[in-house]
Symmetry: C2
Subunit: 474 residues, 2 copies
């Protein structure tokens, strides 16, 4: 191979670097293959009319970059794929399997618990942004801010909490990047290896995974007896994810009492409560006893714009102070411009107006979902009857496995999340979550019809296999 | 005390809850003090014309909430401060001291390494927002997005990296909430208890604290010999925080070679490089060998709007994949609306225009800062001579302690960060960081003049004390 680098001694970049870059391009593009020998430095220096030290310096740099390897007396050779010489990522990044992501896509997807974007009040959002832009406080919003959150939004949320009776006298409030960050910060300040945490089973994977990453020992919470020895009890009393169920008032009181007696931290994830479509409103546990040290998580994500990532947490001052310090380590603070826009959206009454529309839409979707599962799912299927929220929990009959059936459902154009993703102690392999909230009503009906066919086919196949005697093996 | 609750049996809220809320308010407001006895249930029921079970239920709820304690046969008493009965926060939240925050305020504050907000191009920001609002892609931005970042911005940054030669063939890119989150995610995927990390000494507290939270063993990096056994080497080659210094090209090459030889992960924090005021530009280490596995951190915070919290990280695919999964656990993804606005701000050329103005302003401020320290600091003081960035590192003579002097400086109206906050292995008690970038030139001059007087006073007092013989103790 003839080497003809375009070298220019007039450039600021020294010749040896120009030469090394020339070879690097040849190697990266594959024109010089692994194992090929580079010309000896003396030889190349002669060919190109360069000083031999220039060629040596270029080779040395290529070696540093791992592109070539030098063998004394034998010359320099193009190295094997460089990545193998860098850090040993496989060893460095070894992680338990629970960190696998759980996305599953299809034309009709019931897999994300999110509000429908076609209902987003875009004009009201635009107005809110325009009002913030006109406010003349932009410099402060765009500058580095305090870790606790954009103070006007924080004050607005504090006042709202005061009015609804969810702010204890010893409480403070921290703004987070959605509820997920509140969960993450809680685990960072409260969970050490072996810390026992009682959580619902099934439960949202983002909750159990973040706790497991912190080394928590998870206990499925069925009744308060299971909380013995737990330092933390985490509940979603309103429209739980994934079941959609609501906790009765008496169970809330019992949980509160148990937390108090055992001095457990009671964390109440309450991000769905404003999406009630029917039945009587239940108070948050926090509202039942604002001073009892309960930690309340709220978010704008389910009731407005999840893309802005805004939530908040209310709890005792020492806890909020520790979370705020950790928030500073994590990302300094949340985006202030979006906080200002969200404040405007809320205090202008646009959030409340949107919420009314979201409730009407959710109600319709829930009804379509319930009617469709009743009509299309195989006999023996069971499902929850949520009074609000975005999720429905279905359990299939005859040991049908929702995990193995997912691939078939996806081939038919429908996705959901299989139950095993939500498992804490029980396997939930026959269950699945249908997040109906973000799907249009006609798609909900069509999607569940398709799922019903997929599940029914499998059920029949199994039945046939069970009922048909196997031929003798010959 | 006469109890006159306003109870209304027409309300949805049961009477026992109304009654318990009445007592809760009396106790929380202090009108019923700790230790006071509540009327017997029979007695109160008679007074208020209630069923006795209603009063009992109210008392039971108050007990659940920890507001009163019942003693059989003696009655119910207002409990001692309730916080004592909740979770034991002091034990639960026990944290090492390194998590203390490091804010220090004063009328003239050199304590935050941030750009000046009076230079923010507010009109250009407004235009960028308006263009995003008009773009018709709002629904997708406001909906839940992918953990890797808002894809159009991610593609823009990937292309920029390709063009400047900082994207290796095996690399990927993740958008983070500023550089701080990139550091936090790196430590979450790479650092376990005892992982050895070599970092500069002195170094930015947000870096060392996040590493320490993860259990890292920190080694002050003075030369490559100190890196033996380290899994990670973290450097800020351009305008380091706090020193403001630039790493010579040869040292960068040596660091690269050492990282390669020892298979260390080399993390390059490069958030200041675009703020060069003088001298020749140096390539990022990542640009010197894009395929060598180096991890590059960048941010919009120092060159535009820190309040939006936007940064990004470029590195080998397996690493970025692990960080992306962890990002999902942490906060799902970064705010998409601000990402869209920042993309518009950058691709419209407004960011580049602002950068030119930021460089001119920074240059002036650096010169004022250097002239002022030369003029006002006590004889024997030393300081760095940065060619860019936002920070200057000063070391005082005669063992003056910047930590103890801070309170006096603040009383005189000037704040800075004392050197011990930046300490890894060496104490740096005589040093301090002056973040001049965000301070107006006349304030820089005035602030350093005041500091000079405070430090000089202390020096003279000490000298006097040393030179004056102590009288005999009688």
């Amino acid at each position: 191979m003839q080497f003809q680098p375009e070298l220019d001694s007039e450039l600021e970049e020294p010749l040896y670097r120009q030469l090394s870059a020339y070879f690097a391009r040849l190697i990266e593009s594959g024109k010089l293959a692994t194992g090929e020998r580079l010309p000896a430095t003396r030889e190349l220096a002669g060919q190109l009319g360069l000083n031999r030290t220039t060629v040596s310096a270029a080779y040395e740099l290529l070696e540093t970059e791992g592109l070539i390897t030098g063998h004394v007396g034998r010359g320099s050779f193009v190295a094997a794929r460089r990545i193998a010489q860098g850090p040993d990522w496989e060893r460095l990044l070894a992680r338990p399997a629970w960190q696998a992501s759980w996305a599953s896509a299809a034309p009709i997807s019931f897999s994300a618990s999110r509000p429908p974007e076609d209902l987003f009040p875009i004009e009201d959002f635009r107005k809110s942004v325009a009002e913030v832009l006109a406010s003349g406080r932009l410099e402060a919003m765009l500058q580095l801010g305090p870790p606790g959150g954009y103070e006007p939004l924080r004050q607005y949320l504090l006042e709202e909490a005061r009015q609804e009776g969810s702010l204890g006298a010893e409480d403070d409030l921290l703004i987070t990047n959605g509820c997920q960050q509140a969960l993450d910060l809680l685990r960072r300040v409260l969970v050490r290896t072996g810390t026992r945490v009682a959580i619902e089973d099934p439960v949202y994977p983002g909750l159990k995974n973040v706790l497991r990453e912190g080394g928590a020992e998870l206990v499925g919470f069925q009744d308060v007896a299971r909380t013995a020895g737990a330092a933390i009890l985490m509940l979603t009393p309103n429209f739980q994810n994934p079941t959609g169920l609501t906790m009765p008032l008496e169970s809330r009181e019992l949980a509160l009492r148990t937390a108090r007696d055992q001095r457990m931290v009671l964390v109440e994830n309450d991000i769905y409560s404003r999406l009630r479509y029917e039945g009587e409103a239940q108070p948050a546990i926090k509202q039942m006893a604002p001073g009892a040290g309960t930690v309340l998580l709220r978010s704008f994500s389910k009731i407005s714009f999840p893309g802005l990532r805004l939530g908040w947490v209310i709890g005792p001052r020492p806890l909020i102070a520790a979370m705020r310090e950790t928030k500073q380590l994590t990302d300094l603070h949340s985006d202030q411009f979006s906080q200002a826009v969200m404040l405007r959206f809320a205090e202008s009454g646009r959030l409340a107006a949107h919420q009314a529309r979201a409730i009407a839409a959710g109600q319709e979707r829930l009804q379509v979902a319930l009617a469709s599962v009743a009509r299309w799912l195989p006999a023996g299927s069971r499902w929850t009857r949520p009074q609000g929220g975005l999720n429905l929990w279905v359990t299939l009959p005859d040991g049908l496995d929702s995990g193995t059936l997912l691939a078939r459902a996806q081939r038919e154009g429908v996705a959901y999340l299989p139950g095993n993703l939500f498992a804490v102690e029980r396997p939930h392999t026959s269950s699945l979550r249908l997040s109906f909230g973000g799907v249009a009503p006609e798609q909900i009906a069509r999607g569940i019809e398709i799922l019903g066919q997929v599940f029914e086919d499998e059920r029949k196949t199994r039945q046939w296999a069970e009922e048909t005697p196997m031929p003798a093996m010959v």
